[in-house]
């Protein structure tokens, strides 16, 4: 009988910290250090429930962190059973190509913000935060993830935030995240990183191009049904590429002619 190593076998760990970010979004932190770079993901699993691809929310070397919106069976189970061990395998996928770029405009919609937190921490560790502008759009003030971190980020970098729908206590901007794009036109020779719901990414790209960004300098982090994370299960293709293998981050000019790039 011949045996080989099993890539599907997760390492099991309990989070050391659990924090609710919003009504349906939570952050879990492990004692293990992050060995991935911003943009990569892990497969998180619960025995008997399933596996789910989740982006890393922490910078290289920091305690491994994920911020998760409870929408499916695995993500809900983890929220409801805070003491259970979670299976982890990864990291998989590629990274935000921030090194060497002129200036980065990172645009996050909704639960697209965690990989941008990882980006901030990666860039911060190399003293590059002055090269970063973040545009973050949340549905409403109560849906804002990382409320505490955002206060700190606003002091360290150009961090701009808007909500689709305000409330009486909200003093900030109201409007979808694309309404912030005209304000970053002066960075049009830099790179734009876009992550969020498909419709938000579609309109962000249109708006970026309208304001002078080139399709070669726009990068999208795409979401597909990833069941294996290692290029085997065949579910996550966009054209000739598997998102888990060649992505999740794609240069827009490489995929712009694929009809399935946005849902």
């Amino acid at each position: 009988m011949i045996t080989i190593k099993n890539e599907y076998l997760p390492e099991k760990m309990k989070p050391i910290r659990f924090r609710m970010e919003t009504d349906d979004t939570y952050t879990i932190v492990f004692s293990k250090r992050t060995m991935s770079h911003a943009g990569q993901f892990y497969m998180l699993s619960v025995d008997g429930v399933g596996e789910s691809p989740i982006s890393v929310a922490s910078g290289f070397g920091n305690p491994l962190t994920f911020s998760i919106k409870a929408v499916g069976s695995v993500t809900k189970y983890i929220m409801d059973h805070r003491d259970s061990a979670i299976g982890l395998r990864g990291p998989y996928g590629n990274t935000w190509p921030w090194k060497g770029a002129d200036h980065i405009v990172a645009i996050a919609g909704g639960i697209g913000i965690p990989p941008i937190k990882a980006l901030i921490e990666d860039m911060e560790s190399e003293g590059n935060l002055s090269d970063l502008t973040v545009l973050y759009g949340a549905r409403s003030p109560k849906d804002i993830v990382y409320k505490n971190e955002i206060e700190a980020w606003k002091k360290e970098l150009d961090f701009r935030i808007t909500v689709d729908n305000g409330d009486p206590s909200w003093k900030g901007k109201v409007g979808v995240v694309t309404t912030l794009i005209p304000g970053v036109e002066r960075f049009k020779n830099g790179s734009a990183f876009v992550i969020g719901p498909p419709i938000m990414m579609k309109f962000s790209v249109q708006e970026l191009i309208k304001h002078g960004f080139s399709p070669e300098n726009i990068y999208l982090s795409l979401e597909r049904r990833m069941e294996c994370g290692i290029g085997v299960c065949g579910h996550c293709n966009i054209g000739q590429w598997y998102v888990c293998e060649s992505g999740p981050i794609f240069r827009y000019s490489d995929v712009m002619n694929e009809p399935e790039v946005f849902l």
């Binding site: 009988m1 011949i2 045996t3 080989i4 190593k5 099993n6 890539e7 599907y8 076998l9 699993s45 619960v46 025995d47 008997g48 429930v49 399933g50 596996e51 919106k69 929408v71 499916g72 719901p197 498909p198 979401e223 597909r224 049904r225 069941e227 294996c228 290692i230 290029g231 085997v232 299960c233 065949g234 579910h235 293709n237 054209g239 000739q240 590429w241 009809p259 399935e260 849902l263």
Partner: protein, 306 residues
């Protein structure tokens, strides 16, 4: 080196291989040709098996939290088209999926080259039926079995009689191709159209059963899911609605979207990413389709006329 073996020699070859491997062969059981354990070459049927022997490499369903392990198995009587499918799957999943990899590395396939085209078959479009890549390849003509082996398995042929005609496979390939011709692929990866009416036409009668995927010797997609007995991977089908469903929506909500994906994967995406079409012309998907959708129509369709 090509060897010329008699039927008795084939029996000796099989016994030699059986010293190191569990031997399976295509054989007739209850009117179907299936792969099961054999102890003698006389049990082998040269008819096309009812199903491809894909499950020697990808189990229909298995627990993926267990240790990937394999026994050394030899499978005799595989058709060239099915075997070629495995070489195509290798390009994407070998050395990635541990279960596939350990079985692929420990399974010896002995393929039989067809001497007649099977009904509906179009292997000639993909270079068949004589393969360039094989473990041990057999061509049965009259009383003779012409056998060639990859260098890894050449030792099993030591002692048998070298064939006087060392071009027998090349000649057979030419003769077979001349006799049956081929459907020209004609740059299908560039000809297919996203908006072709073919996809909606197929969708009008496709019943989403997935038989085309399960019968295909190149379809490698799997579903990974948990149940009370563990984490499983199971043969999946890109024709099924849930295949691309996510929290953000479904990228292929319509059956026509999913049918197009199947043919784009086979004739465009794989060609672009791996340099090969993901099809061997075995015709199994056509044979098994309950509503007679014919993949050959995708190749022969005149997209320019639409």
């Amino acid at each position: 080196m090509i060897y010329e073996l008699t039927e008795e020699d084939m029996e000796r070859l099989l016994q030699k291989i059986a010293e190191e491997y569990d031997v399976f062969g295509s054989k007739e059981e209850l009117g179907e040709v299936v792969f099961s354990k054999i102890s003698s070459f006389s049990e082998v049927s040269e008819k096309k098996s009812s199903y491809s022997p894909k499950d020697f490499l990808i189990k229909r369903s298995e627990n993926i939290l267990e240790i990937p392990r394999a026994e050394k198995k030899a499978v005799i009587g595989v058709k060239s088209c099915d075997l070629r499918g495995f070489y195509l799957m290798d390009l994407q999943i070998l050395n990635k999926d541990p279960f596939y990899t350990v079985r692929r590395q420990n399974t010896l396939f002995i393929n039989f080259v067809c001497t007649e085209m099977c009904p509906g078959g179009f292997c000639t479009s993909f270079g068949g039926p004589v393969l360039d890549d094989y473990d041990i390849q057999v061509l049965h003509i009259g009383q003779s079995y012409f056998v060639e082996a990859d260098p890894r398995y050449e030792r099993y042929l030591a002692g048998f009689r070298p064939a006087s005609d060392q071009d027998v496979f090349v000649k057979h390939s030419k003769e077979f191709n001349r006799k049956y011709g081929k459907i020209e692929l004609n740059g299908i990866e560039k000809r297919m159209k996203w908006s072709s009416k073919l996809w909606t036409e197929f969708a009008n009668y496709c019943i989403s059963c997935g038989a085309c995927n399960y019968s295909c010797p190149t379809c490698y997609c799997i579903d990974v899911y948990d149940d009370e007995t563990g984490r499983k991977k199971e043969w999946d089908s890109c024709i099924l609605e849930g295949f691309t469903k996510t929290a953000a929506g479904n990228v292929r909500p319509d059956l026509s979207d999913r049918l197009r994906q199947r043919f784009y994967h086979k004739f465009k995406y794989y060609k672009l990413s791996k340099g090969e079409y993901l099809c061997t012309g075995c015709n199994r998907c056509v044979d098994d389709c309950p509503v007679d959708i014919d993949i050959k129509e995708v190749i022969t369709h005149d997209y320019d006329k639409e």
